[in-house]
């Protein structure tokens, strides 16, 4: 159970990082066929990060569904809201950057989204599964993260890299 809660907690941190790290949304002029999407499953992540940034725990929990929601409910219930918020902020400190990949359709109303947390010497990768229910997207599950060494570590200067990039 603890391991599962840790996964959920990590996911929450990551999503909060995505939200906190986002720039201003693209102006209307820059959104069209080719511009980044502002709705869909990505919007669910944004809602959740907004809630995390504001320490709005009800709104945060509202982004989840199913067993994940139940587990998070128990996680939050087990500690104070202040403690929960401070944990989020502490987790964000080490991050250099993050990358969220485009949704991959799993079914008619389900997608996986790959999220990478970029640190100086490693990248943690995690996949979120989101489901659409009654016109809105919710996080249904979060897989355990995997750590890998990037081909070129964050911040590597041109003079430090050896050999040809493939």
């Amino acid at each position: 159970m603890k391991q599962l809660l840790a996964v959920i907690f990590t996911g929450a941190i990551l999503i909060a990082a995505v939200w906190l790290g986002r720039g201003p949304s693209a102006p209307a002029a820059a959104t069209a066929t080719g511009a980044p999407e502002d709705d869909g499953p990505a919007a669910c992540l944004e809602r959740m990060f907004a809630a995390a940034e504001q320490a709005d725990i009800p709104a945060f929990l509202a982004c989840f569904t199913g067993e994940e929601r139940e587990k998070l409910d128990r996680e939050v219930a087990a500690q104070s809201a202040d403690t929960y918020g401070r944990s989020l902020q502490a987790a964000l400190q080490a991050l250099k950057a993050r990358a969220v990949h485009a949704p991959q359709a799993i079914g008619d109303q389900m997608v996986d989204m790959r999220v990478e947390r970029i640190y100086t010497g490693r990248i943690e990768q995690q996949v979120y599964r989101l489901r659409e229910q009654r016109g809105a997207w919710y996080i249904e599950s979060v897989r355990a993260y995997q750590t890998y060494q990037p081909v070129v570590p964050f911040g590597t200067h041109v003079s430090e890299e050896d050999g040809n990039v493939p």
């Binding site: 693209a26 820059a30 081909v151 070129v152």
Partner: protein, 879 residues
Amino acid sequence: MISRRVLLGLVLAAGGAAVWAGWYRGWVSPSPAAVAQDAATQPAANRRAQNQQRQNQQRQAARTESATATMLEGAAVLSAGDSYDDFASIAEASDGTLYAAYAAYFDAHDQIRIHKRLPGGQWSTRTHAPLVEARADIWMPQLAVDARDRLWVIWCEQTDQTRTASGNWDLYARSLADDTWGPIVRLTDDPKPDINPHVCTDGQGRIHVVWQAHPENYGNIQYCRFDGEQWSRPLAVTSGQTSDWYPQVAVDANGVAWIAFDSYRQGDYDVYLASVAEGQARAATPVATSGFYEAHATVACTPDNRVWVGWEEGGFNWGKDQGYWLRREQREQGSTLGSRRVVRLAVQADGQWWAGPTLEPDVAGNGLDTTASPVLTAGRDGRLWLRYRQLSRGQAMGGARRVTRYWTENVTYLDGSKFAPPKLIPASTGRISVFSRLLAARDGSTWLAYSSDQRSAANYHQPVHDRALVYQLAAPEAAVTTAELSPYQPPEPPPGQKRWDVAREQQEIAAARGRRITVNGQELLIVRGDLHRHTELSWDVGPGNDGSYLDFYRYMIDAAAMDFGGLTDHQGGGHYAYHWWLTEKSSDMYYLAPRFVPLYGYERSARFPNGHRNVFHTYRGVPVFPFQLRLDQAGVFPGVGTGELLDNDTKLLYEYLRKTKGLAISHTSGTSTMGTDWRDNDPWVEPVVEIYQGARNSYEVVGGPRVHDVSKQAPNEAPGGYQEAGMVWNALAKGYRLGTTASSDHGSTHISYSMVYTPANDRESIVDAVRKRHTYGSTGNVVMEVWANGHFMGDEFELQERPSLTLRVTGTAPLARIDLVRSGQYIYTAVADQQETEIKFVDMEPQAGLNYYYFRIVQEDGEVAWSSPVWVRYGKGND
């Protein structure tokens, strides 16, 4: 100071000397005193007769002098020397009188000059055909004589061009009879180019004209006829998106007009034959449809009811993947534009296709077994004549070690079932792109009208002066016999090579062309271009593997299906005025917006450390900016490149391009010969860099994909040499705002793309988009877009929030890797396995001040794309 008296004395003395000298040499008229003495001693009638006789003698002497001075190795030179002459044509009246004409580039415009062969065998002084415009811009004038012995001139002319837009190319005709020009007859009026005409006359004196029209921006063949009274309206022989080129027409004994042409309708160049009978066009039938380049078709009809079709056969998968890295990895799948070609023939007889005789060019001396541009005609006796160009090579003299190539004019005829030994036409050295005309004369001889730039053994790569000539070939003594034929067999593809996957490429191109984004309220589309292509007009290796300046358009429009591009021969063709005229003219002629938009361009090859740059303009008539040579140089002004330049040569180029609203793009910046140490930049004139070129390497950064690796190969093994200071990252580190492009250079095809996001595919929009750096470079038809906090790649902006970048990419194969670079550092490297992806990246620890970010993707198949950077000024008061 010289006193007035002394000055007057000097003037009088000089004048007296000039008069004396002029009298002695017959340059001036007799003095009034001499005339008065004549008048006093001779009767008036005698004086008139003597004057007439004297005038006649003077005229005859002038003719003789002219004829003597203009004979060159047996060929008559029509040119007077004051112009650059091209597109020679010849026609014959019923009494055997010959006329010859050519296009003359004179005083920054074109003329059509016409000569008549006089009874004594000399050619007359010229007259000029009055054209639509006083300062005309014409193409391929040709002559014909109708049944009433009227001489007709048929030509293409551009009208209605504006300062920034190409005009309309149409066909016109005008007759000369009884020393009077008739009215101009406009044969076409479609707003798109009507070009590349071919004219023939049938046995009844009717004139048949075929040409390449572009009603839907694709080449279609059209036809019209003059029946002795009036010209018919254009008849569509082909239509739709066929991309048909260079038709030629011949008429058989039944009055059927046979039209041979080449077409890209099946995804490579093939030869087709169509016909027009009784005003109706019959469907084209395929003649040569292998995977080889089969183009420049010609046709002739012999009295034995045979229809002969000739063409040039070039490389397999012509214009497809060619370049340095593919060659290293043995992945080349195409042929260069100037790949070896040979003339082939086929014969339609008894409703079947038969193989024509094999042409055996003369390969003794400098001649190579490479022949092209056939022209067939049937003699009065039914004999088949063939004219073609042959590639030759020679060792340049004068200390140069360069082997140079050139083309010559050759004529042969069918002798039984094989061709007679060909005749090398004198004084015919020049480009491949010479459109000569054969005439079967009534006396049994054959005349050839041709042009030559008179390049010589001293420098076979260098034109001397384009001149028009005519040459007579005597009637062969051998009787005409019917050639024995064997079934036609198409050539086998080269071992191990498959035909290009046209459908797949079309899908990739459609994906790129279909992409739309909106930036600042403006919808943008991707246009794909090549901004670095050479042709035969380049004096270095152009005549070898780069094809003709007209092949450039075939490649751009069909083989690579580019949306825009620039012909960038060195110094616009070596500071040779006519080459630059052809460059600009052809850029107007193939302006097929929105399908294809040519820019006016050239390469300016200042050696390291100044660096080579390609230069572009959106309007015609900007002179090529000359090298700013130091004054300690002797010899010929460089026609390709030089390093003997003034210290501020590049700055002077920028100054010139600011005045003329030009664009410069540095290329091969990391080579030791052509590159630069980034000592100069003007962000308005030079907003992008050619980060990769197909002919050589990438110059992005040490260790980058397709960058020369000095740990594996010595620096001098890099094509063009190697020096690190020229890597693009060094320019970015200096604060230069440089977007990215990729283009080809010599020999390479189909692996370099300059992608531009533009609101429209026209010259101004493209260049404006390039100045905004809304570009990326790619080795394939990769679709790529990068956004940063609502701004598009190439933009520069300020931010108080964290930079958030979004990459959206559709590859042509699964992606292998994605890199994000921030100000000289890799900050994200993703291993990807999908062909299409979108990544949103947030820099959680942005650096205060100015930072640039750009993405680079590498596909599993090794193809690469480089986005333009965004420049983000993050935080307050930091830089």
